[in-house]
């Protein structure tokens, strides 16, 4: 049984090569125009932008990122459980209830803290 990952690897190479090759190929084909002047300015509705666009931004984005890590990892833990569920049966149900219960407690706490509110 050959590894199924070999075609995937080849496909990955193809999928990455296609846009890159097209990009380079058409760079050679299309009329060579160098954009100058205002064309190169970042878009800000026609006025020069004030300040760079790479400052620190609102902390809420980090909160969401952290919450995502927690909840998504949790979801990943559920995958093997779900696959093996028919084997685990009642035992699986109870353990997962404990697991999800802890998650839900955390969730409720976050909810009440207002951490899930965007504004």
């Amino acid at each position: 049984m050959p590894s199924p990952y070999i075609p995937i690897f080849i496909f990955a190479v193809l999928a990455a090569a296609f846009p890159a090759v097209t990009l380079i190929l058409f760079k050679l084909i299309r009329p060579d125009m160098r954009a100058v002047g205002a064309k190169l300015k970042p878009y800000e509705c026609g006025v020069p932008p004030e300040g760079g666009a790479r400052g620190r931004y609102s902390v809420r984005f980090y909160i969401v990122a952290i919450l995502f890590v927690i909840f998504d990892v949790e979801t990943i833990f559920l995958f093997p459980w779900a696959v093996q569920y028919s084997v685990l049966g009642l035992y699986g149900l109870v353990t997962m209830f404990v697991f999800l219960g802890i998650l839900v407690i955390g969730y409720v706490w976050l909810y009440n803290k207002g951490a899930l509110e965007w504004v």
Binding site: C45, G46, E50, G51, A53, R56, Y57, S58, V59, R60
Partner: protein, 380 residues
């Protein structure tokens, strides 16, 4: 990062955990600023902590032009201010000059003026609804609205040959007699329109997303609205039952039965409802007006050369956007000494900062949309 003089943003709050505030320019080249409005937003994350409207990109010096044109010559210029409600602008100007000269348009002219102006109000509101919905992300109502607006523009085209900047009225009355099927066309439009408005409402009014996006957004209390000089649907949505058509009736409005719709909360949703109801009321006025258009002349007896006696007059009408006033000073010559136009959009826009504070970027476009500004009028 950016150093911006805080004088532009009074009462700036400190931000959460010292994130950088972003200065974001919305406009003049932005899909949702209805032309060339530039709004400078100070953002904490996505929350607006300060705003400043920068206008004037479309300033053409209409008031200065007026001083170098005769009274009649200036009339087409006013069409270019609120270019989506040219008929209303023309009505205001013609009536103001008539008042200045002490003449009155004949009854037939007044009724036809009323019909066309109300159609224009519907057209203007339709365009507002379409673009406002588009700003909030509903793509489809725009096309439905433009479909109905097209019918109105066709009536204008049949009447005076122009669709947008119509110059439909003349000082002293009308240039053109109503064409034969005017009544029939208006009636057909009105008959269809009833169901069309319901259709828009079906798409939006009870849509949870629409309600979520508009309820409680851009609230302005009646007190604030009066203080900021807001007029038209904005002040009505705040609960002030005030409409120049009722307060100082002009044209033929005193002859018809209709209501002034008002809102309670003064938020975007109420302004939406008020405008929807206004369209229905305009339809009602049109239907009554075509019932009985008086016969007779359409032009008052005025000379070819207009020389209003010296003096001044202020006359205002209820344009679709609010109170459109003309303050004209005559020095007895053929040219106005000074024409001052009180643009409803300009003054309504002033309330923007008050409305937008504390909202998110997405609400900014909802609020600009609900103010229903036309930059041609704001900047003149």
């Amino acid at each position: 990062m950016a150093e911006i003089p805080t004088a532009n943003f009074p009462n700036v709050e400190t931000t959460v955990l010292g994130a950088d505030e972003i200065i974001l320019n919305m406009g003049p080249q932005h899909p949702a600023t209805h032309g060339v409005l530039r709004v400078k937003l100070k953002l904490d994350g996505e929350k607006v902590v300060g705003s400043e409207c920068i206008i004037g990109y479309l300033h053409r010096g209409v008031e200065k032009i007026a001083e170098h044109r005769s009274y009649q010559q200036f009339a087409p210029y006013v069409d270019r201010m609120d270019y989506v409600a040219a008929v209303s602008n023309g009505l205001g100007y013609c009536e103001a000059v008539e008042k200045l000269m002490g003449v009155e348009a004949p009854p037939r002219a007044r009724v036809i003026r009323t019909i066309l102006t109300e159609l224009q109000r519907i057209a203007s509101h339709l365009l507002w609804l379409g673009t406002h919905a588009l700003d909030i992300g509903a793509l489809t109502p725009l096309f439905y609205c433009l479909r109905e607006r097209e019918e109105i523009l066709k009536i204008f085209e049949k009447y005076c040959g122009a669709r947008l900047t119509t110059h439909a009225f003349r000082i002293g009355g009308l240039q053109y007699e109503a064409y034969d099927e005017l009544e029939k066309d208006v009636e057909r439009f009105c008959k269809d329109f009833e169901q069309k408005v319901n259709e828009y409402e079906q798409l939006l009014t009870e849509n949870r997303i629409w309600v979520g996006r508009t309820k409680g957004i851009g609230v302005i209390s009646a007190q604030d609205a009066i203080d900021m000089g807001a007029t038209g649907p904005i002040i009505r949505a705040s609960g002030v039952k005030w409409d120049i058509r009722k307060a100082f009736p002009y044209a033929a409005y005193d002859q018809y039965q209709w209501e002034v719709p008002t809102g309670k909360n003064g938020d975007t949703f109420d302004r939406y409802l008020v405008r929807m109801e206004e369209m229905r009321q305009s339809r009602r006025i049109c239907l009554q007006a075509i019932e009985n258009i008086p016969t007779g002349p359409i032009m008052a007896r005025i000379g070819k050369v207009l020389k209003p006696p010296p003096g001044e007059v202020y006359h205002s009408i209820e344009a679709p956007k609010g109170e459109l006033g003309y303050y004209i000073v005559s020095d007895g010559t053929t040219q106005p000494y000074r024409v001052r136009i009180r643009p409803p959009s300009f003054i309504n826009l002033e309330a923007f900062d008050k409305m937008v504070r504390g909202h998110l970027v997405a609400d900014v476009v909802a609020i600009i949309g609900t103010l229903d500004i036309v930059l041609g009028e704001v900047d003149r």
